[in-house]
Symmetry: C2
Subunit: 201 residues, 2 copies
């Protein structure tokens, strides 16, 4: 037994959403059909429009339906600083943390030769072209602190040697507000090696 063919297709389609299994899909479909038809229609049309129109910013490759994203069009951002991140979500997290006033470049992933993901797939040709223009003093490699993120950062760093551009990487160490007891060994030994003079601030 199941629902009608069309309702079953809706259940199945909802499962493309991350973290949505059969039970959640059923709850979502019944919720939309029984109580939220208007919201469901809006979702269907906005989703179709977003998929048709949203692409990459031509300058920083973040997701946008415009040619240039809001940050790239802004005149208030420091053009001498460029922060390279793996995803638009990372960019948003850094913006929400506050304190960074430069621009971004979004890779949409990391190098992964085994999956056939090479430099051009993560836009490194566009990054090169951008850095060839004058103006960027420092590139902050803010890829994830994972094996793949590190490898990608190293690859980019190798490509940029010879240019008059400072390279930096986000600081590693113990996270604020955490308890040492629960910090993993790799992070802890990095924090020891990178220890700083106590300033009493």
């Amino acid at each position: 037994m199941s629902f009608s063919p069309l309702v079953d297709r809706l259940l199945e389609s909802l499962r493309v959403l991350p973290g949505v299994g059969p039970k959640t899909a059923q709850r979502m479909a019944l919720h939309l059909l029984e109580r939220e038809r208007e919201g469901g229609e809006r979702l269907a049309s906005v989703l179709a429009q977003a998929l048709a129109e949203v692409g990459y910013c031509q300058r920083c490759r973040t997701l946008t339906e415009e040619e240039l994203c809001g940050l790239c069009r802004s005149t208030r951002r420091d053009e001498r600083l460029l922060c390279v991140v793996e995803s638009p979500a990372d960019m948003l997290a850094i913006e929400e943390a506050g304190g960074y006033s430069g621009q971004y470049f979004v890779l949409h992933g990391h190098l992964s030769p085994l999956d056939g993901i090479g430099p051009e797939d993560i836009g490194l040709d566009l990054l090169e072209a951008r850095l060839a223009e004058d103006g960027v003093d420092e590139v902050i490699l803010a890829t994830n602190p994972t094996v793949e993120g590190e490898a990608t950062a190293h690859y980019i760093a190798t490509q940029l040697t010879g240019r008059q551009i400072r390279l930096s990487r986000l600081a590693y160490g113990v996270p604020m507000g955490g308890e040492l007891e629960y910090v993993d060994g790799g992070t802890l030994s990095r924090a020891f090696n990178g220890r700083l003079p106590f300033s009493g601030e």
Copy 2:
């Protein structure tokens, strides 16, 4: 800081889904835009189609895009038994449990005078009309064991007095596989009052 206007609208639209807050909506939107465009397009079109075409079965009121649902068209179901449930999800749960071979009637809710939900809103006029036809011997009131579900069952029972129709209610008691320690007091005292002779089965 936020995403582009269209991406922001997508985040907001996703929040009509039950259990989806800002963080999950962001994860879903980025997943669809970055890795699942095809699945997202299918979701948008199936959702729009389902909302446009899926209505209630004219006989049992379950969700279907056809005039009569599969169960009502089936010739294998016992027309003398009619099970009244609050939602299509309840109907599916009973079908999946197996063992019931009769037909259904879906209320899509329960009586709730304070919210302005009266007998016609839950299809009781259609239920009356169906029972006026000859054929149904027993009506199983399978509304939820909640205050509202009980009240709705009582209302339906009152309406049916005088007809040659048997009325029944699902058995109350301790759930199978549970531990007595964790069963709530109301259920436990119901199970005591409704105790059965030990058959040794």
